[in-house]
Symmetry: C2
Subunit: 160 residues, 2 copies
Amino acid sequence: MDPAAKKLALRAINYGLHILTSTNGTEYGAGGVNWISQASFDPPLVMAAVKADSGSAAIIGETGTFAVNVLGADQLDIGKAFFRSTSVEGDQINGHGFEAGPETGAPLLTETAYWFECRVTDTVARGDHTVYVAEVVNAGVRDESVTPLVLRDTGMNYGG
Amino acid sequence: MDPAAKKLALRAINYGLHILTSTNGTEYGAGGVNWISQASFDPPLVMAAVKADSGSAAIIGETGTFAVNVLGADQLDIGKAFFRSTSVEGDQINGHGFEAGPETGAPLLTETAYWFECRVTDTVARGDHTVYVAEVVNAGVRDESVTPLVLRDTGMNYGG
């Protein structure tokens, strides 16, 4: 396999950008994640790949829950705040307001328009990211006029 | 959970559109699939969710292999040709030219710019779509100037 072709072909997959959050009640995980997709209508499942050695993966492994906050087209700045380590002060996580998800406690960013909470059903720990297949157990929309961000449009990518 | 909120929140995830193909040497599967994402850099893994009762899932279950052809921004017409049952005549599949993938035999569409071949490592058969985690074993680029299609831009969606 030609490594350059592999990189280009895998970067051809289009993604949004999401803040994937978790908590065990004491520690918090929150990171920008693009490797997310729905995986079933009934039951409603998603699949997400999270860096295996991350704090988020440790918390999800412990709690079996996480939340996904979908960034809008003009919210790359929020995404960038979650490309670094997680810091919670009061009702702010990495400088952005949040509230606890009703089902999981995972942080829901109050600035993002769409969110869902997930309970892990299956875990595939094979690569440098762990795949979680998870049932969507709660969801909300703060502003349905918001168009979700397309990662390619930002000039950034994560893949290849 | 509010079903309307669940639908809107899950439809907020952005996707491309891909033709996912497979063959056991006799039968062929080929369908438009958006629920695809990378899942690891090393080894290079992807995750794809394929309708559990489809011919493609039957073939992938048998062979453990498939290929992904990434549609370009102006190739929705090709996508639509794969929203129906699969038909192979000579070197055409659903009316579009293909060649056999070198590693898997799965059809590679000659009109699409980016492709990769995959070997399944893990299967999660939980919902109405089956999740395949698969290693990318071969990849190619026919035209790196092509911008991949964003499903939302077509006005179509599959999710919710």
